[in-house]
């Protein structure tokens, strides 16, 4: 059926390890103004705002209220999804499809530099059986990595290749936090943080924000010469307790991508997608998610990378922006992938532009080991 919602504006900040030279509200105001300029709308034309941020990462109760003034929500309809930016994008899409909004601004912000990340993510685990064990995103990710790699014979070098590929391609991304060519050896020699994850296997934490402007079909045609249409959305939540989950099975991502592909009329993602931006907080996750997204058969993720299929110029470039190895703004990560997907479809991705992009996939996660999965397909 005819797509009913389009992205008409997008913006992202430069991702940096520490943006405390300016306040969160200044960062967010700048990125919102940029997105509005990109869409050619002023504040009055935006009739709905959805923000995404998480109280414990912001160190404040109802931290969404600090953004109200700088996202232009005074006397407007505003809501906040406490999770990944793609959740906020979904809320915006639904508001437009529900007919209560014509132009929705979606904004996501997070400052990794404000708190100690592993101590914060410890509070995501249930306090009864898991939290007091000291688990966090790193140790849970290591359990998933070790299980996935042992199940499918994937080596630490395969994972190091992911980091090398992403940092090589991050050179082309002006927003990337890390822009340094590295070698496999450099990754292999970085200190082991949680077996088998080494320091350089981990996407570096960063500060940043990004925004997209969604518009109804009729409004999008008026506003934008090149609207990027929302073709498919899928979201799914896997089990929380680590012992009650197939950590390499990825049922939630399979379910979420199946739904998004079905809506977008995609039956063979490898052929029909032109680029994918995937949220991988650790190197092994890019291999695991690309397999579960159906880009290749199970266990083939590493080969697909080695043969250059997922590099810029390959059959299906994955993370030409450098992905999160170029900077991990935590709850902003998913929406940043969507911004990159929009730039690719519009042909405005500069040096990291993939040729002839008509269908792009953006992927986001919430919780540990990709417990919550978001998949969005956008196109021209």
């Amino acid at each position: 059926m005819d797509p009913l919602v389009a992205i008409v504006g997008a913006s992202q900040t430069k991702f940096e390890p520490d943006k405390s030279y300016e306040s969160i509200i200044e960062t967010v105001f700048n990125v919102v103004m940029e997105a509005m300029a990109d869409a050619g709308v002023n504040r009055d034309e935006v009739d709905n705002i959805v923000t995404s941020s998480v109280d414990l990462w912001d160190g404040r109760t109802a931290s969404n209220q600090m953004l109200t003034e700088v996202v232009g929500a005074i006397m407007k309809s505003e809501s906040r999804v406490a999770g990944d930016g793609l959740g906020a994008a979904l809320q915006g899409i639904m508001a437009i499809l529900a007919g209560v909004s014509k132009v929705t601004l979606v904004v996501s912000q997070c400052r990794g530099s404000m708190g100690v990340q592993n101590e914060i993510s410890n509070w995501v685990f249930d306090p009864i059986y898991q939290q007091t064990l000291g688990l966090d995103y790193l140790s849970a990710g290591a359990l998933q990595a070790n299980y996935f790699m042992s199940q499918f014979g994937i080596s630490q070098i395969d994972c190091a290749q992911v980091v090398v590929k992403n940092l090589r391609e991050a050179q082309n991304n002006p927003y990337a936090q890390v822009k340094r060519e590295i070698t496999v050896d450099e990754v292999m020699n970085s200190p082991m943080w949680a077996y088998p994850i080494k320091e350089m296997d981990i996407a570096p934490i960063s500060d940043g924000a990004c925004a997209v402007i969604l518009a109804s079909q009729e409004k999008a045609k008026v506003l934008s010469i090149k609207p990027v249409w929302i073709l498919g959305v899928g979201s799914c939540l896997d089990s929380h307790y680590l012992g009650d989950r197939d950590l390499a099975g990825g049922d939630a991502l399979i379910m979420a991508s199946k739904k998004a592909y079905h809506m977008a009329g995609i039956t063979n993602p490898l052929e029909e997608l032109d680029v994918a931006e995937v949220t991988a907080a650790f190197s092994y996750q890019e291999l695991l998610w690309t397999e579960l997204l159906g880009f290749c058969k199970r266990g083939e993720g590493a080969n697909m990378l080695k043969t250059g299929m997922t590099s810029l110029g390959g059959a299906l470039p994955v993370n030409p922006s450098g992905g999160m190895m170029a900077g991990n703004p935590i709850t902003v990560a998913g929406l940043t992938r969507l911004v990159e997907a929009v730039l690719q479809v519009r042909g405005e991705a500069g040096q990291r532009q993939v040729k002839g992009v008509r269908r792009a996939l953006a992927h986001g996660t919430t919780g540990c080991c990709g417990q919550g999965q978001y998949v969005m397909i956008v196109g021209d």
């Binding site: 030279y21 009864i128 007091t132 688990l135 790193l138 943080w193 949680a194 680590l242």
Partner: protein
């Protein structure tokens, strides 16, 4: 008045106690650890899965579990990691080993600490056995760890 404005940061501290109700089911699970050094699962009447650690309801069938079933004390190590990067939230100093253990008689696995922190001595699928803490107070850490058999 110095005009240069740059990067002022306010250092905020949070220092708050939180006290969580374990609930009837988890309380019984902890009492069994504390008083009888037993690991108990609970069975779902519909799918018959024995869920460990015990949960009030089966998330797939969305009905309350009913029958208490003792599991373990041994099981197989599904996966593991050894954490070397220090964190204030850890229950003890690094290196700190975690494992996911499928206990004999259980249909789901339990995530917990491993007694072995030399990664070369850990293998997927190896047999492990529960070690209970000396001092127990009705807490998940009444289990000290799981050790390779």
């Amino acid at each position: 008045m110095s005009d240069h404005m740059g990067g002022m940061v306010l250092h905020g501290k949070i220092d708050l106690p939180f006290s969580y109700s374990a609930g009837k089911t988890a309380s019984r699970f902890f009492v069994e650890l504390r008083d009888h050094q037993r690991i108990m699962g609970k069975r779902c009447p519909l799918c018959r899965r024995v869920i460990v650690p015990a949960q009030l309801f089966c998330k797939e069938c969305f009905v309350e579990t009913d029958e208490w079933v003792e599991v373990g004390p041994e099981g197989t190590l599904v996966t593991f990691t050894v954490v070397y990067h220090k964190g204030n939230h850890h229950p003890k100093n690094v290196p700190l080993a975690y494992g996911i253990i499928k206990l004999d008689g259980a249909d789901t696995s339990i995530v917990h600490l491993l007694g072995e922190t030399d990664v070369t001595k850990l293998e997927h699928g190896m047999k492990v056995r529960v070690v209970f803490s000396e001092k127990r107070k009705g807490h998940i850490l009444d289990i000290e760890c799981f050790r390779p058999v």
